[in-house]
Amino acid sequence: MKRVAFQLLLLCLGFMALSAQIAAQEAKPVADDPELEKRVMNLSQELRCLVCQNETLADSRADLAVDLRREIREQMKAGQSDKEIIAFLTARYGQFILYRPPMGPTTYLLWFGPFVLLVIGLGFLHRYLKQRRELISQEPLSPEERRRAEELLKVAPAKEAV
């Protein structure tokens, strides 16, 4: 009985290995020209997939991403520069398609906002530290205070021992 089970297991493993091989064969290069495909992928890294939004066009497997990569590939074959292709796409999909937002009046807040927040934060930190420094009094302890402090220090280790 055990032996049969073992053989079944082996058979299953065999099938799994086989199906993995089949899956591995599916991934064929998309274009015949690897140089062109590299250029397509490089540009796609800079572009957003509008369906998944948080994925680049290069990473996305959405239908639209496949179509847009095809469009880019064809335009590159036709001799268009990367700049011209980006202009083509932003004319249709807007600047949202650019993964790196361009510098412009509408994106100043996006680009410089974090630095403004950092400066404000540093200002608060500076004020806080200054207040703390002022809290530390430079006056030496009075004899009475010194006696109380010594008393407290003496008691503490005794308590720990217990």
Partner: protein, 174 residues
């Protein structure tokens, strides 16, 4: 009291920003095509594949171009409204059958009703790219001069139709 004033103010600002963020639909991306000429196309008609349809021949009319597909689930939600709109004859509705199989598209229209005066077939989605389509259904309102005046991404709701599209149609038809 003043100890809490600043953190409280910061918190309120944060909540306000988050509330605004929640109200936004991240799927609607402002289209750069608004107030730009609608890209022209020549495509075969869905029902009569021997005939073609061009955006150019719609000059002089205010019309709606509705991008749809039989595989698109939200198109089903929108469909009854389009049928009703077509029946009211308020504005001519044309379809752009996007990345679909002809027999599927025809069967879909037979099943749910055909609101379109005609549908053009964009089988490989190239015209869709020219129109900046990224989420079917999408609807474009195009004026007499062939300029896109309004774009709806996702299904048209009765509210959008009454408050935005129909008033615009009225305006543009003057």
């Amino acid at each position: 009291m003043s100890r809490f004033a600043i953190p409280l103010a910061v918190f309120i600002v944060l909540v306000a920003f988050l509330a605004i963020g929640l109200g936004h639909d991240p799927r609607t991306v402002p289209s750069p095509l608004i107030n730009k000429p609608a890209p022209d196309f020549r495509l075969t008609q869905l029902h009569e594949p021997t005939k073609s349809f061009t955006a150019q021949e719609m000059r002089g009319q205010v019309w709606l171009l509705n991008v749809w597909a039989s595989w698109c689930v939200s198109c089903r939600d929108e469909h009854p409204l389009l049928v009703e709109l077509a029946r009211s004859r308020a504005v001519p509705v044309y379809g752009l059958n996007y990345k679909d199989k002809r027999e599927d598209a025809l069967a879909w229209l037979t099943e749910f009703g055909n609101p379109y005066l005609l549908s053009a077939t964009d089988t490989d989605g190239r015209i869709g790219i020219n129109y900046g389509v990224y989420g079917v259904p999408e609807t474009y309102l195009i004026d007499r001069d062939g300029v896109i005046r309004y774009k709806q991404v996702g299904p048209i709701t009765p509210g959008i139709l009454q408050d935005k599209i129909l008033p615009l149609v009225k305006d543009l038809s003057k």
